[in-house]
């Protein structure tokens, strides 16, 4: 039996619609011709996990590390200068005839201090537009160093830079000596307050300190780097970082050591810190005072003064000493913010929630108003021996 192609008018219309439909969708989603360009052989992918950026002679210097992912693949650490970030990435991508660097899974971005002090505007612009990198990449700024030095100087396996940054991220998050802000949070803070915090790292020499056979450098936490208007304007040391975390409401569980007022040092664990920030306004509408009230709960850790048990007098002295210590830290952070006219604590947002009318009537930019305001810091500390076996009397039982 012979067959001929028969298409009725209605059926032809439907067929045509079905053929046009995918093409129409492709126009909507912008996938024209880019599907096949996106093809990659999975087996040949080398996943970049740490991305470094420094200021180069002609623009940027990109450094990447693929991390210690697969046993069969050696860690790739390479650097390349280029006029633009994208250009550098394209150059790096085909570094080898066999393997291809893949940037979509980058976890950490390390920025050199030189570039940060010069300008990060182009970097943030690139990150906001990039379809290759995610915006939840955790940012670090290399204090007194370059990203290239830390990436190239790290070792293999557990001393590799990605592993180092990964453990550092966990550590600062748990201990409260900083906070690993990601790119999206930094950009948002810059947009809202004109200033942002980035976790600072230092290139630490590890020779003889670690049981590794290669690598001399490992990134270690070093407080916060403060950005103002796309540029690095200073660093906050790790001691101040604890104060910052309490003021911005990030979790803390860290130990601090301070003079106990009896001639020795005391170490306590900070278990909770609540900050309440408000503003006082003068009659002409200017911000006269920034009032910061902080309540801290701590547990005794290590006391150098010979005390068999915490008595009430010693506890009162200890509380007073902790209050002095924390007041100085908070004041230092707030003073830094005033000096640099950088609202990295997000005070504008806090005051706007409490006094929206006064904030909207401000005659000058908030950072300038902040710089002129008087600082009032009130700290109340409660060192509770409840968790101490010795001091809570558990020992007797």
């Amino acid at each position: 039996m012979t067959y001929t192609l028969y298409i009725g008018r209605r059926r032809a219309k439907r067929l045509l619609l079905l053929l046009i439909f995918p093409l129409f969708l492709s126009c909507l989603c912008g996938c024209r011709g880019s599907i096949y360009a996106n093809y990659r052989d999975t087996a040949e992918l080398q996943l970049v996990q740490t991305f470094g950026l420094d200021r180069g002679e002609h623009g940027f210097e990109l450094s990447v590390s693929t991390g210690s992912g697969l046993p069969e693949q050696p860690t790739v650490r390479i650097s390349r200068p280029d006029d633009s970030i994208i250009g550098g990435m394209e150059e790096l991508r085909d570094y080898s005839p066999k393997n291809e660097l893949y940037f979509a899974h980058t976890r950490y971005c390390l920025l050199g201090e030189g570039l940060a002090r010069y300008s990060l505007a182009e970097y943030f612009d690139f990150m906001e537009r990039s379809s290759q990198l995610r915006t939840d990449i955790v940012l670090f700024i290399a204090k007194d160093s370059t990203a290239k030095k830390i990436i190239q100087g790290s070792g293999e396996k557990s001393s590799e830079v990605t592993e180092g940054l990964s453990s550092l991220e966990r550590e600062v998050r748990q201990r409260g000596e900083g906070y690993p802000f990601n790119c999206r949070e930094v950009i948002r803070s810059l947009d809202e307050y004109g200033s942002a915090l980035v976790c600072a790292v230092r290139a630490s020499e590890t020779k003889g300190a670690l049981l590794t056979d290669s690598g001399d450098i490992l990134p270690t936490s070093d407080g916060y780097a403060v950005l103002r208007g796309d540029k690095l304007c200073g660093f906050l040391d790790p001691r101040s970082a604890v104060g910052v975390n309490i003021l911005i409401g990030k979790p803390i569980y860290t130990s601090i050591t301070f003079p106990d007022g009896e001639g020795g040092d005391a170490t306590v664990y900070l278990s909770r810190g609540d900050a309440k920030i408000s503003g006082a306004w003068s009659e002409d509408g200017t911000l006269s005072k920034i009032i910061t009230e902080v309540s801290i709960v701590a547990e005794p850790g290590e006391l150098q003064s010979p005390q068999t048990r915490l008595d009430a007098d010693y506890l009162a002295k200890l509380n007073a000493a902790l209050e002095r210590e924390m007041t100085s830290r908070f004041t230092r952070v707030l003073r830094f913010s005033q000096d640099k006219e950088a609202d990295f604590l997000g005070l504008y947002g806090i005051l706007r929630r409490g006094s929206p009318r006064e904030i909207s009537n401000l005659r000058e930019p908030f950072p300038a108003a902040l710089a002129k305001a008087e600082l009032v810091v009130r700290v109340s500390c409660e060192i509770s021996p409840a968790m101490s076996l010795k001091d809570s009397g558990e020992e007797d039982r």
């Binding site: 039996m1 012979t2 067959y3 001929t4 192609l5 028969y6 298409i7 059926r11 439907r14 067929l15 079905l18 439909f21 995918p22 969708l25 492709s26 989603c29 996938c31 599907i35 996106n38 093809y39 990659r40 052989d41 999975t42 087996a43 992918l45 996943l47 996990q49 992912g69 697969l70 046993p71 069969e72 893949y102 979509a104 899974h105 976890r107 995610r134």
Partner: protein
């Protein structure tokens, strides 16, 4: 989908059929001529009531009739002088027989050769009166049959253990036992010129939609084929979209499920020679129900149904998604998973596309081989295929372990679909989606999904949307599609079935 309806035969020849098939006057000689070379035809001349002049010829097909029954209920009273008297003429004898001289319960007179032949092949015994050009037929069908056994496909722990068999009357009896009401109507008809297959349209009067019954009857009447020996022969003619791979008619081997669906307002069809009952209209959601669902607690039944929908969805999409992500969208995988994918792909010589398509084809071949072989050997094939060949292929680095896992997961999840025809359609969709992913990545997957849903939305079974109640005007239709409610709150039959009486309980 009408898209596939592109080819039509040029100058289709009409099927030649002349009716009636046999136009002769009824007599023993012409009946023998019709059944010439049929060794199973048995004939015997008898004298009615022992008279010398009243000779008749008795005909039956050996095997189709019960010999004892012929002897006891036809031959014996026919030759008994006290009951039948041949001396009074053939007409008088026939009248006497029809009035009860012969014991057989079912006795009718046939005056047309066509009807007589049909009765003979149905298992009746014919007594031909040459002088009257007429015959009397007695129902003496053989009782030889397969015993009622447990369902082999639709097994249920908490449910009846009987299943349909090949005998139509037994099947109607099984249904009648579940629904002991005169409202259960069973209309007979015959389809197939040569097979003469008997069918029964079953429905509950006052519950089934009369339009559906009428539509079914019309479609059955319009079927004019040589034989109906498999459900497929009928389904293609009854289906609204015969080119669609999705089944538009449900079938069940369980009389209880058949009866439940009749009570829901569906119309059933029983076919002589097939141990199945067909149900219509069919919907996707009804096919995703298992027979045991009505015996389970509604929460458990709902949970299992959600699982089945999830499994069906994953079964269709998993290989395609893996292919699209592994080839085009590696950024969608979490880092650690991507690392393990890369590790598994090291040293494998084939691309991901070849790997997945090859594994899918191998899986289907193993499945096909397992089905075709006797069950002990079939199981062995499964073990050899899945364990030995699969493991060896992975160890030889011919395929990556993750490809084996993806294909095996998709295959296993496909088995959770209760309806075999639907499961087969989904297997076809799986291949289609893989090809879409291969050529278009995630974009292709989306286009493929849209096309499949477009097709599903365009399907209807006897006027009922295939995806109902999802496609209805009720926004919560999806919940009634995938969730069960306590029986005391489920007081109405499905709206889409347009039953005259929607309420099913007080």
């Amino acid at each position: 989908m009408k898209l596939f309806n592109l080819f039509r035969p040029k100058n289709p020849q009409p099927h030649p059929e002349k009716l009636p098939h046999y136009n002769d006057t009824i007599c023993a000689k012409s009946l023998k001529a019709i059944f010439s070379d049929c060794s199973d035809l048995q004939t015997r001349e008898l004298a009615v009531g022992g008279a010398k002049t009243g000779l008749v010829t008795i005909f039956y097909l050996d095997g189709l009739v019960d010999g004892n029954s012929v002897s006891e209920t036809v031959v014996r009273p026919l030759t008994d002088a006290g009951r039948c008297c041949g001396e009074n003429g053939a007409r008088a004898s026939m009248d006497a027989i029809l009035k009860g001289a012969v014991y057989c319960a079912n006795a009718t007179e046939k005056r047309e050769m066509d009807k007589l032949v049909e009765a003979l092949v149905q298992g009746f015994t014919a007594v031909v009166f040459d002088r009257e050009h007429s015959a009397l037929v007695f129902e003496t069908r053989s009782g030889v049959q397969r015993s009622i056994s447990e369902p082999t496909i639709e097994k249920a722990v908490k449910g009846a253990k009987d299943a349909f068999i090949e005998r139509l009357r037994i099947n109607t009896m099984l249904v009648r036992r579940k629904l002991r009401t005169p409202k259960l109507k069973m209309q007979s008809c015959t389809v197939g010129r040569e097979s003469g297959t008997q069918l029964v349209i079953a429905y509950v009067e006052g519950i089934a939609n009369p339009k559906t019954i009428e539509a079914l009857r019309l479609r059955l009447d319009s079927i004019d084929i040589d034989g109906v020996l498999a459900t497929g022969n009928l389904e293609e003619y009854l289906s609204d979209a015969p080119r669609s791979p999705f089944p538009l008619i449900m079938h069940t081997e369980r009389p209880d499920r058949f009866a439940y669906n009749l009570l829901d307002g569906r119309v059933g069809l029983l076919i002589d020679g097939l141990p199945l009952g067909l149900l219509l209209p069919a919907t996707f959601s009804e096919m995703m129900r298992v027979p045991e669902a009505r015996a389970q607690h509604y929460a458990i039944a709902s949970f299992l149904r959600v699982l089945r929908y999830f499994a069906a969805f994953v079964s269709v999409l998993l290989p395609a998604l893996y292919l699209a992500i592994a080839m085009y969208h590696q950024e969608m995988l979490p880092l650690k998973m991507l690392l393990s994918v890369i590790e598994s792909k090291q040293s494998v010589p084939f691309s991901t596309g070849v790997e997945i398509i090859g594994m899918l084809v191998a899986f289907e071949l193993l499945q096909e081989a397992g089905f075709r072989l006797p069950s002990p050997i079939g199981e062995t094939i499964g073990i050899i295929g899945a364990l030995i060949v699969g493991q060896s292929a992975v160890e030889a680095k011919v395929v990556s372990p993750i490809a084996v896992i993806v294909v095996a997961m998709a295959g296993i999840m496909g088995y959770t679909v209760p309806n075999q025809d639907l499961s087969s359609a989904l297997r076809l969709c799986r291949f289609f989606m893989v090809l879409c992913a291969l050529f278009g990545g995630m974009f292709g997957v989306m286009v493929g999904l849209v096309l499949i849903f477009y097709h599903l939305c365009s399907l209807e079974s006897f006027g009922v949307s295939y995806l109902s109640p999802l496609t209805g005007d009720k926004p919560l239709g999806i919940f009634s599609m995938i969730l069960s409610v306590p029986l005391r709150h489920n007081k109405y039959r499905e709206e889409v079935l347009e039953t005259p009486n929607r309420r099913n309980q007080k």
